[in-house]
């Protein structure tokens, strides 16, 4: 019997049509196995990511107001102005609070929920769905809901206080309260994502490890600290990076809940970009803020990925 060898999928020999040969120069430029299925994705990526990025950088070097037919090149003026802009500084600090605060809350809550749900035998699916549900709700809707809770007149919180004889409080007139509410709303909305990631991670840990540790007399906390946490490292990396990027880009909740106010004290960099572009009519300056936000997110992602992947544990 003759056996025809099956081509190894990892084989890197170029697929060449009969009668055609790749010369050495062509082999150098094109990958040997060209899969055209990624071309549509590449085109979309170029149109919706690369082009806007290049266009944004070039816009940031002008003083365009966003609609006029003329614009002038101003070099790095917009970037230099950022150094002296108090509102930008406030927005940057707020953005870091939104990003780091939301990430911390989501990691703690998400991991806790995942651990609990992993151990619950009955009703676990329903609980997972309930906790994940807010992820699918628009942040605008959720922000509006919380606005109705915290508003001064007819706000749910003030109405409850009134039931117990408490006075009305203008919650959203205080920047500190506004920032805290934004962090909490954002965290509660997206905690489901962390929970799902950690649940998947937990279910990937072989039970033999726990059984062996239990035989050795390890307590629950020791097992969690020495087995679960190290083996969840990839899940930590994914969840933290996703949550942090989401927090740093935060727009909708801020816009709906406080609009960046009172004054400009709760702006995130994203809401400031929108306001600077459309309301202040400073499209060039707004683009410069956008470029800075982009660099910040890339840098944070890069650093975090490097740090978290360094600690990865091999099974």
């Amino acid at each position: 019997m003759t056996v025809t060898p099956t081509p190894d999928p990892t084989d890197t020999v170029a697929v060449v049509a009969p009668g055609r040969r790749l010369n050495s120069a062509t082999r150098g430029i094109f990958p040997r196995r060209l899969n055209w299925f990624y071309v549509p994705a590449l085109v979309l990526f170029a149109v919706f990511s690369i082009y806007p990025l290049i266009s944004g950088v070039s816009l940031s070097l002008t003083n365009w107001n966003g609609y006029s037919r003329s614009r002038a090149f101003v070099g790095f003026d917009n970037y230099l102005r950022l150094l002296d802009d108090e509102v930008f500084r406030t927005a940057m600090v707020n953005t870091l609070i939104y990003g780091v605060g939301s990430t911390l809350i989501q990691q703690v809550l998400g991991l806790g929920l995942a651990v609990v749900l992993d151990r619950i035998a009955r009703g676990s699916s329903l609980l997972r769905a309930v906790i994940y549900l807010p992820v699918m709700v628009s942040p605008v809707v959720l922000g509006t809901m919380y606005y109705l809770i915290f508003r001064y007149n007819n706000g749910a919180l003030n109405d409850v206080r009134a039931l117990f004889g408490g006075e009305q409080v203008a919650w959203l007139a205080d920047a500190g309260v506004g920032i805290a509410v934004i962090v909490i709303v954002n965290s509660l909305q997206f905690v489901g994502i962390s929970m799902v990631i950690y649940l998947a991670g937990l279910q990937g840990v072989p039970t033999e490890y726990y059984e062996a540790a239990q035989l050795d007399g390890a307590t629950w906390w020791q097992r969690f600290r020495s087995i679960t946490v190290p083996l969840l490292q990839p899940a930590f990396a994914t969840s933290i990076v996703l949550n942090l990027i989401g927090g740093l880009k935060l727009f909708d909740v801020v816009q709906v809940l406080t609009g960046g106010g009172p004054g400009q004290s709760t702006h995130s960099v994203s809401t400031l970009i929108g306001e600077t572009y459309f309301s202040n009519q400073a499209a060039g300056y707004s683009a410069a803020i956008g470029v800075v936000l982009f660099v910040l997110i890339v840098a944070v992602t890069f650093v975090l990925n490097s740090l978290l992947n360094r600690k990865r544990v091999e099974l």
Partner: protein, 415 residues
């Protein structure tokens, strides 16, 4: 198969031919897109819709689509200007000259141009005498008040011509347990208007011209922000400033839960919708710098035609139709403001008394909107944020002045 396709094609051609030779279907009409800056269901939007319908009846070959504004009219229009895709006609909301004129057809050669209300010359005409929109109404604004509240507090609005007298009135109102002034950081144009209303009385003529020429003068802003801070510390502003909506404020004004609101007179119409028996009026604004009191005037509801529009001729014809005395009078009555053209009778409704007392005699000076006349394009947002910051106690006077100066410098050089 081919025969089938040919048959279908022939039938389609025949049907389209029938449509063309009979009464004009919508497909044969010129469709004019009229982008209004009015919300659907408001009296002024319905009034414009009625006029559009009347025009269609007179001109069967034109279809006029009056479009209600979205949630961010200015943003929408900026995107359309940026992309060069504009409606045939659009509402200029006070900015026909300073923001939109680059894209609008000059209208000073139109048959109705000579009747433009002279009050609007300073805000709507450029140095060459050109103007770019038909003002259906003239915006006349002062400080709206609830007449019942002032009567109960023993205050005559005609006696509040100085800032000292106004301060005393605020204190008296507060003693009666009513909120003296209401504004909003949520629907933030309220906060911007507080600064716009007071700004004109914080600078004299010379200083205002310096601002217009790009030279920042801090004294007026300092005086205005200090006054706002003083009112904030005295507890004169509504405690729900950060969360109050336009409807909340209109209701509060109608119900007599607040005495004064610094906003356009159209809010009185909303207040009357919520509280039909409300007694409302408006009064001139007292100047912080001690100058005489003033009313604020400018372009009200105004429509301009796209200079590069495909249907520019029909657009100008529709504007001429709106400018006819009877039509513009009907619209202005529904809007509750004087018409933007002279020689037009308008029913000013509940605010008639105030118009007759302060506007018609022409004794109270009229000033343009502060930000439109003297500040660079884009400063409106700075007025909103700094005022909101002061009223909520989040910003100091110094910091607000510095922020205003920084924005002023940048935006003055913006193109």
């Amino acid at each position: 198969m081919l025969a089938g396709f040919a048959g279908l094609a022939a039938a389609a051609v025949a049907l389209s031919g029938c449509s063309g030779s009979g009464g004009p279907g919508d497909g044969d009409k010129v469709a004019l897109e009229v982008q209004s800056a009015m919300a659907e269901g408001t009296p002024r939007f319905d009034a414009l819709g009625k006029l559009a319908k009347a025009y269609e009846d007179d001109n069967p070959d034109v279809k006029v689509d009056v479009v209600a504004m979205g949630s961010d009219y200015e943003g929408d229009m900026k995107v359309r200007m940026g992309s060069g895709d504009l409606p045939d006609i659009w509402a200029t909301h006070g900015w026909s000259l300073l923001r939109y004129s680059e894209f609008l057809e000059p209208l000073d050669d139109q048959p109705w141009a000579d009747t433009l209300n002279p009050v609007l010359d300073s805000t709507m005409k450029n140095d060459d005498g050109e103007f770019f929109a038909l003002p259906l109404t003239t915006d006349v604004a002062g400080i709206l008040y609830n007449r019942t509240v002032l009567e109960d507090a023993g205050i005559d609005p005609a006696s509040l011509g100085t800032i000292e007298a106004f301060d005393e009135a605020l204190a008296k109102v507060k003693e009666t347990g009513v909120v003296p002034i209401s504004s909003s950081g949520k629907d933030d144009w309220f906060a911007g208007n507080v600064a716009d209303w007071l700004g004109s009385g914080s600078y004299d003529g010379k200083e205002s011209e310096q601002l217009a020429d790009g030279e920042f003068v801090d004294s007026g802003f300092e005086a205005m922000f200090s006054k706002l801070e003083e009112w904030t510390k005295a507890g004169y502003f509504n405690p729900d400033f950060s969360s109050a909506t336009s409807d909340d404020i209109a209701t509060a004004l109608g119900q007599g839960k607040t005495a004064f609101v610094m906003i356009q007179n159209s809010l009185a119409l909303s207040a009357k919708q919520f509280v039909p028996d409300a007694q409302l009026g408006f009064m001139p604004v007292p100047a912080i710098n001690g100058d005489p009191e003033y009313l604020i005037g400018g372009e009200g509801v105004a429509l301009g035609a796209w200079r590069d529009g495909e249907h520019k001729e029909q657009a100008l014809d529709f504007l001429a139709f709106l400018a006819e005395t009877e039509n513009i009078g009907a619209f202005a009555s529904d809007d509750g403001n004087p018409a933007g053209l002279t020689g037009v009778d308008v029913d000013l409704g509940d605010l008639s008394d105030s118009y007759e007392q302060f506007f018609t005699p022409g004794e109270v000076r009229m000033v343009p909107y502060f930000d439109r006349a003297y500040l660079p394009n884009g400063m409106w947002n700075t007025l909103i944020s700094t005022t909101g910051g002061i009223i909520t106690g989040q910003t100091t006077v110094d910091s607000a002045v510095k922020q205003t100066e920084a924005e002023f410098g940048t935006l003055y050089g913006q193109q």
